[in-house]
């Protein structure tokens, strides 16, 4: 008897399905995965070290780059931490503008995920359909902020300019629900899609909590934890966190679809509030002279990929003494070790895709 020979497969860092530069070292027996070892760091930019060398306002434009698909969230998170440190309460209108843009950004991010996930499964068309809708949102952002991805629109205590082109947002939220229905028609009940996703990549509740998985991935496992519920920005806005208990890839897909619909509702409410409130009054903090009082400041936000948090330790100078980001994708990558074991190679791609991993966020 000769022993069964296994072999190692180096999936990535250059691979079409790793959504960036993730490297997975897989040990395979045929197509069955025996073990998986993620290797990250190909996109490390030293965001935390960089913060210690820069003034807060200098650092502000770079935080968008932590997650290039949802730049608004990290911008907001950073501004929020600074505002908390300075004891500034932002006015209502600024709050609603931020909610509006955050949710638009969340939709754009989820749309891209839907396209990329279906691309992983081998269906090319949904990718283009999702990009078509995402394009509307990006066009709007470009009109408003001058940038398609790195908006740098939130500033300490407010936003850079007053919101404008509201009719574009109305247009987007008019069109989107119909388009989402179209996606559901070609994707959700597609038998091949079901065989690829139903019951695949199951994340049990305890496993998810143990691996510190947050966001949609956690809620698709049946845990009702949405940081937005405890978020002061969303105080006067009604929404229900999407909780599904399928625990599999299909639930994660469905949860994102439902979350887009929920975001549309939030946008509608925020839009009305923005229209009711008059001119923009801001409590701007002078960013040039900004010195944070000594102490630690911590804040959290529900980003599209999960819970993101920012920790700043200030020694009273104009630069942070220590700045720490919690990026949700990093924990999802760590989970791959557990859930890819025993899966087949083509399922592995689908499972890894369903977690919505984005590499700049992992590598910081």
């Amino acid at each position: 008897m000769t022993a069964v020979k296994t072999f190692k497969l180096n999936l990535g860092p250059q691979h079409p399905s790793t959504h960036g530069v993730l490297r997975l070292i897989l040990e395979l027996d045929g197509e069955k995965i025996l073990s998986c070892e993620p290797d990250v760091g190909y996109l490390h930019r030293g965001m935390e070290k960089m913060a210690e060398q820069m003034k807060y306002v200098q650092y502000l434009p770079t935080v968008d780059r932590i997650d290039y698909l949802a730049g608004c969230f990290y911008s907001e998170l950073f501004c929020r931490t600074i505002e908390k440190a300075m004891g500034v309460e932002i006015p209502d209108k600024v709050k609603y503008i931020r909610v509006l843009l955050l949710e638009l950004n969340r939709i754009a991010s989820h749309l891209l995920w839907i396209g990329a996930f279906l691309m992983d499964l081998g269906a090319t068309s949904p990718f283009f359909y999702a990009f078509r809708e995402r394009e509307m949102i990006l066009r709007y952002f470009e009109k408003l902020t001058g940038q398609r991805m790195m908006y740098n629109y939130f500033v300490f205590g407010g936003v850079r300019t007053d919101i404008n082109y509201l009719e574009d947002i109305e247009n987007i939220i008019d069109i989107l629900p119909q388009k989402i229905k179209d996606y559901e028609k070609i994707i959700t009940d597609n038998p091949i899609f079901l065989t690829r996703t139903e019951g695949k990549g199951i994340i049990e509740q305890t496993l998810a909590k143990n691996y510190s998985i947050t966001g949609v991935n956690l809620r698709a496992s049946g845990v009702s934890y949405d940081q937005r519920l405890y978020d002061r920005l969303y105080n006067n806005i009604e929404f229900v966190p999407i909780v599904l208990d399928g625990k599999d890839s299909w639930s994660r897909y469905k949860a994102r679809i439902l979350e887009i619909n929920e975001s549309i509702k939030i946008i509608q409410q925020a839009l009305e509030k923005v229209k009711q409130l008059g001119d923009l009054r801001q409590v701007l903090i002078n960013p040039i002279r900004l010195k944070l009082p000594e102490g630690e400041y911590y804040s959290e936000i529900e980003a599209p990929r999960g819970l993101a948090s920012c920790y700043i330790l200030s020694d009273g100078s104009d630069k942070p003494y220590r700045l720490k980001w919690r990026t949700p994708s990093y924990y999802s990558v760590n989970l791959l070790r557990e859930i890819l074991r025993g899966a087949y190679l083509n399922d592995a791609i689908a499972i890894a895709g369903s977690l919505d991993i984005i590499l700049p966020e992992v590598d910081k």
């Binding site: 072999f7 497969l9 180096n10 691979h15 079409p16 399905s17 045929g30 197509e31 279906l118 691309m119 992983d120 499964l121 081998g122 269906a123 090319t124 068309s125 990718f127 283009f128 359909y129 078509r132 070609i186 597609n190 091949i192 899609f193 065989t195 690829r196 087949y344 190679l345 083509n346 399922d347 791609i349």
Partner: protein, 365 residues
């Protein structure tokens, strides 16, 4: 064909070429013609696929090179020709170079046995349906050679997937082909075509008694061609094109060419055995309707027959592209399970049904 044969022999006799040489070369010439025509067909197919995929996904497709992008594939082919051929350092050089050549041989041979019109078959053997089925499965050998010799794990996985895929889908194909042989009482593709003739046009086509067989055959052919949703051996998002990952330049072009040629050949085959081949979907031919019984009409009929055959296979290719734009990819174990659990029993039941049908409709006892 006979007429051409005598013309050719006379031509050679003029220059005192031995007759045996003429006999051999006469059968080589058509394959050279096929290879040349094939290039054009593939260029059109690739363009059609890109254009159609573009329209399916609300894009324009290639539209810069030439009017309506017609020269785009030509430009791409030229680019592939002038690209460097790279051989991986640890590849098995002989097999690595052999594979792309070997993949092209069965493709050209297969197209030689197709009856394009009533009088136009390059090589007409009495049992050429068997020859077709064997040759059509042949490219998988070179795919395996390519995957094996590339010394790349992705290629190897692609090759292994390809082998298991063809092994499991070859059986349903054979059973469906058998049922066609039963229906037509012939193993010759021209004979099968003529067996589908009926004065009411498409009423005689084998798709009607054998609709299940058509579906099984269509699905199996998708699998044999490595087309979506069975494109596992070259799954872009998993294996990075599988067996042809390491190939570049002209060698890659040969794989590409054979892939589309097989698509063309298989769609021709499908329309011959199920959709009446070169027969007109109406009772008579358009040429006869327009030009009456003139000499011109009987000459034009041959072209019209080819036109019908190409139209039918064009529709099949369109559906195949349509499927590619719509469906995600199956998982490898589901694919094999689907073949053994669904397709194989279905094809056997189909064969039994066809035999009963043939008996009931008073066919050969």
């Amino acid at each position: 064909m006979n007429y051409l044969y005598f013309l050719y022999m006379d031509f050679l006799a003029k220059y005192n070429v031995p007759k045996i040489l003429g006999n051999i070369t006469f059968y080589i010439i058509p394959f050279c013609i096929i290879a040349a025509v094939l290039l054009v067909v593939v260029l059109i197919l690739v363009l059609a696929e890109r254009k159609l995929l573009g329209y399916f996904t609300q894009r324009k497709g290639p539209n810069r090179v030439g009017y309506w992008g017609v020269l785009q594939t030509l430009a791409d082919a030229f680019k592939l020709l002038i690209k460097e051929n790279i051989t991986p350092g640890k590849a098995d050089r002989f097999l690595y170079n052999l594979a792309p050549i070997l993949v092209f041989v069965p493709v050209v041979t297969v197209l030689g046995i197709i009856p394009y019109s009533g009088e136009f078959t390059f090589v007409n053997t009495s049992t050429n349906i068997i020859l077709y089925v064997v040759l059509a499965a042949f490219p998988v050998l070179s795919i395996f050679l390519a995957g094996w010799s590339s010394n790349n794990k992705y290629s190897l996985l692609g090759a292994a997937r390809s082998i298991s895929q063809v092994l499991s889908y070859e059986l349903p194909i054979t059973f469906v082909v058998l049922s066609i042989v039963v229906l037509a009482s012939s193993m010759n593709l021209s004979g099968i075509t003529l067996a589908q003739y009926s004065s009411k046009g498409l009423a005689g086509w084998f798709i009607f008694p054998c609709i299940a067989g058509f579906c099984i055959m269509f699905i199996s052919i998708l699998a044999e061609l490595n087309r979506c949703p069975f494109d596992l051996p070259e799954a872009e998002s998993e294996l990075i094109c599988g067996y042809n990952t390491e190939y570049s330049g002209m060698r890659f072009a040969l794989f590409y060419l054979s892939e589309y040629s097989m698509l063309f050949a298989n769609s021709l085959f499908l329309s011959i055995i199920f959709l009446g081949g070169y027969l007109s979907p109406f009772g008579g031919y358009l040429s006869h309707i327009i030009f009456g019984d003139s000499q011109l009409a009987s000459f034009l009929v041959y072209f019209e027959q080819t036109f019908w055959l190409f139209l039918k296979s064009g529709i099949i290719i369109f559906v195949i592209i349509w499927i590619r734009a719509t469906l995600p990819r199956l998982a490898s174990y589901d694919l094999i399970k689907f073949s053994w659990v669904v397709l194989l029993p279905a094809s056997i039941i189909n064969l039994l049904w066809v035999i009963v049908y043939k008996y009931l409709t008073g066919g050969a006892a």
